[in-house]
Every structure is written in C-alpha cells, then in structure tokens.
Symmetry: C2
Subunit: 227 residues, 2 copies
C-alpha cells in the first residue's frame, strides 16, 4: 500500500479526508500539528479519530505558533468573531486566518511523507463553504505541489507529488453526507474555533455556523456533544 | 524600515545574510528553528550573532523533527559522512539532507513575516559550493515565492513576496570575504554538522570541508574555536 500523509486536525473535514484516503487504498499516516491553537481539544480528539479510522500511524507534532500576532486562533488577545450571518462568511479574510498556516502544515506533511517514501499528501481544504482563507484555494494547492516537486529528493529525481484535496469542491452538506456514508466518527470531531475546555462547541463562530448549516442541509442530526 | 525575516541557523552563511539584510536597510527579524538538529550548538550561537549584528528581534521556534527518518541531522541512527573529497560534495544528495527542511523553514518565516506586515524573506542557500540539497536550488526559491503569493492575505490582495538569497551564486570564498567585510562575528558561527557539545567542529564533515576550503581560498584565517 502506498503511504499518504493526511493532515488531521480533529475536525470533521480532515476526519472525512482520512476516511477517503483509506477508501482509496492508501496506508494513511495521520499528522496532527499542535500549534497552540485555541481549540486544542481538537488534538486529543484527532488521536481517537485516527485509531477508529484505521490510520497506519498517527503523529502529533508540536510547534508553538502563538507568537503569530493578529490571528484569533493563536493570539489570545484577539477574539473569535461570533454570530456572523453565513452569507458574510467567506466575504473577506476573517481574523481566524492564521498566517501561512496551511503552508506550514503542508511543509511538515511533505517532510514526513518524503521520509516515509511517499508522494501523496491529503488536506481537507474546501473552496465552497469555507471561511475565506487564501490558503484554501486551488491555486495555492497547485503552487505547493510545484514546491514539493523541487524541494525534495524524490522531486529532484523527477517524481511528481500529488496534493489531494478531496473536499475542495464539496459543500458542507456533501461533506456531512460522505462522513456518514464512510462511517466517520463525526461525534468525536470538533469544528468549533472557541470550544469550552470540555470540548463543548460555542455554537456561534464561523466554523460552528458552517457545520450546523451543513448538517441541516444534509438532513443529518449532529450528535456531537454540546449541540 | 521594511521588516524582513532572516532565517538564522547560527552558521556562517545565514549570519552573512543577516548582515546583508541590515546593509540593505531592512528591519531584520532573525528566525532560528530548533528542529532537533544534531548541531544544536548553532541555536545558542544564533542568539549572540543576532545581537551583535543588530537584528530588530530574534525568535527561536522549537519543532521536533527528529521523527524524520533517514537524515543524518535528525536521525541519531544515521552517521554524518566524513572526509569526503570536496569534489564529491555536491554529486548526489547526501544523508545530511533533511526532508523538505527549507520548505518548513521558509513556511515558518513566511508566517512570521506576514504577521509583521512584511513581504521579504532572506535565506542563506547557495547553489555553488553547496552540498547537493534539492531545496537550495533557484527553482525551489521561485516555486516557494509563488506559494507565498497565494498562501497569504497579502498575496491574495495582490502583493508579491520576495525570497532573497543573496549568497545563491557566490562561492564559499566570496561568502567569507563578504562576512569579513561586513563585520560578521564569524568566530561565533558554527558550520559543522557534528560538533562536540563544546561547539568544537569535527573538521571532517562536508560543511567543515567546504568552510575550510572557503577560508583557504579567501586567504582568511578561520579563528573560530576548534579550528
């Protein structure tokens, strides 16, 4: 089985990506980056999700990004925006954007993948029901694939890298339907940017609103705790 | 003064880049990544070099990459190659290659730079007297600049990023001459991949051999301890 590194935050989207990678026949190595995010409960849930979905291995890499000023996810002096209308989400880049976060995450995935002898990375970015982050766009993924191709030993020897983003063109409702169909333990996943220490979701941040709308449109009852 | 993030390992090349950035008029923010490298003495020296060269700030970010198998710099079971002829250096990718290391370093520099409101990164890669690493090549730098342009808020708003590699086309002797001319405290810098705990260089790894040849060709006595 070919190895793929799957970025697994502990949220619904990345868990669904892990299930996708398993269905595609990859030996799926899950990578969780503990970067000091406000929603650290994600990290502990990720380990359980990886186990349940049959990841070949799961690794948690710690890197303290809390020095990145101005992001609501890493800078405790910036509040998470609440109760925006879902029509406002995606218009402009919100304060929950973490500078260059997906570049850092993919760089680490690339490093691990190369040491595993793989050529496949999987990331749960989405360009439809998303929060307006620049590093969730198709052009970003294409540019990163080009970097992977020349940054690595395998690339220098002529190999191409594949950056899989199986959720890229799906609505949140379509992601929910796939998660259910693929037995993703979604009740363990945490989408909230600002959960209680217990893991309970705030219900009002962009991520909570998008998740709620997705489950509603999919006709699925979200049975994660705190909903 | 425009802010630039300078990757500062504590070696001669990155110290010379920091001096370059200061001379170019940047507010130079030095970033040292402590990734579990074998030559950890670099990290402590980097702080002193940053102070001496007038960095606007210096930040050490810890990230444990020792799980990356197969690299002599992060995997303690792999030895650092010694006493290769300098003509062999650069022919093929040596075991001191750390998978995707420069991608990880530039990603972190990009993240910090964006949070500082900057658009300039400085990295001391070299394509002449180098060790054959794929992520020291001009095509890698161009590809990363394209990633920076679409991964970030500034990029999404139309700004271009500049990845400066002022040593790219210099020989090691030319780097030594600039270091001397620009008052780089080179005796504090550590180039060795496998130094003693005291900081003394091994004198036989590729980095030591390239440094020795550079000083010799520049006609400068290397007065760093242990030489």
């Amino acid at each position: 089985m070919r190895p793929a590194v799957v970025l697994l935050s502990g949220g619904l989207d990345s868990a669904t990506c892990l299930a996708w990678a398993r269905r595609e026949g990859f030996a799926a190595h899950a990578l969780t980056v503990d970067y000091g995010q406000r929603h650290a409960i994600e990290v502990t849930r990720a380990a359980e999700v990886a186990r349940r979905l049959g990841a070949a291995s799961h690794r948690i890499v710690g890197i303290d990004l809390t020095f990145l000023a101005g992001s609501a996810l890493t800078d405790r002096t910036v509040g998470v925006p609440k109760s925006r209308g879902t029509t406002d989400i995606g218009s402009g880049i919100p304060t929950t954007y973490v500078p260059a976060r997906n570049t850092v995450l993919l760089a680490l995935a690339l490093a691990w993948s190369e040491s595993l002898g793989g050529r496949d990375l999987v990331i749960g970015v989405n360009a439809v029901d998303y929060s307006g982050y620049p590093d969730c766009r198709p052009e970003f993924l294409r540019a990163f694939a080009a970097v992977a191709g020349c940054a690595t030993k395998a690339g220098a020897e002529g190999g191409a890298w594949r950056i899989h983003a199986p959720l890229l063109q799906l609505s949140k409702a379509e992601i929910v339907r796939r998660a259910v169909a693929w037995d993703v333990p979604y009740t363990l996943t945490v989408s909230c940017y600002d959960p209680a220490v217990s893991g309970e979701s705030c219900g009002a941040c962009d991520a909570c609103l998008l998740r709620a709308r997705g489950f509603l449109e999919a006709g699925v009852q979200d049975e994660a705790p705190g909903r």
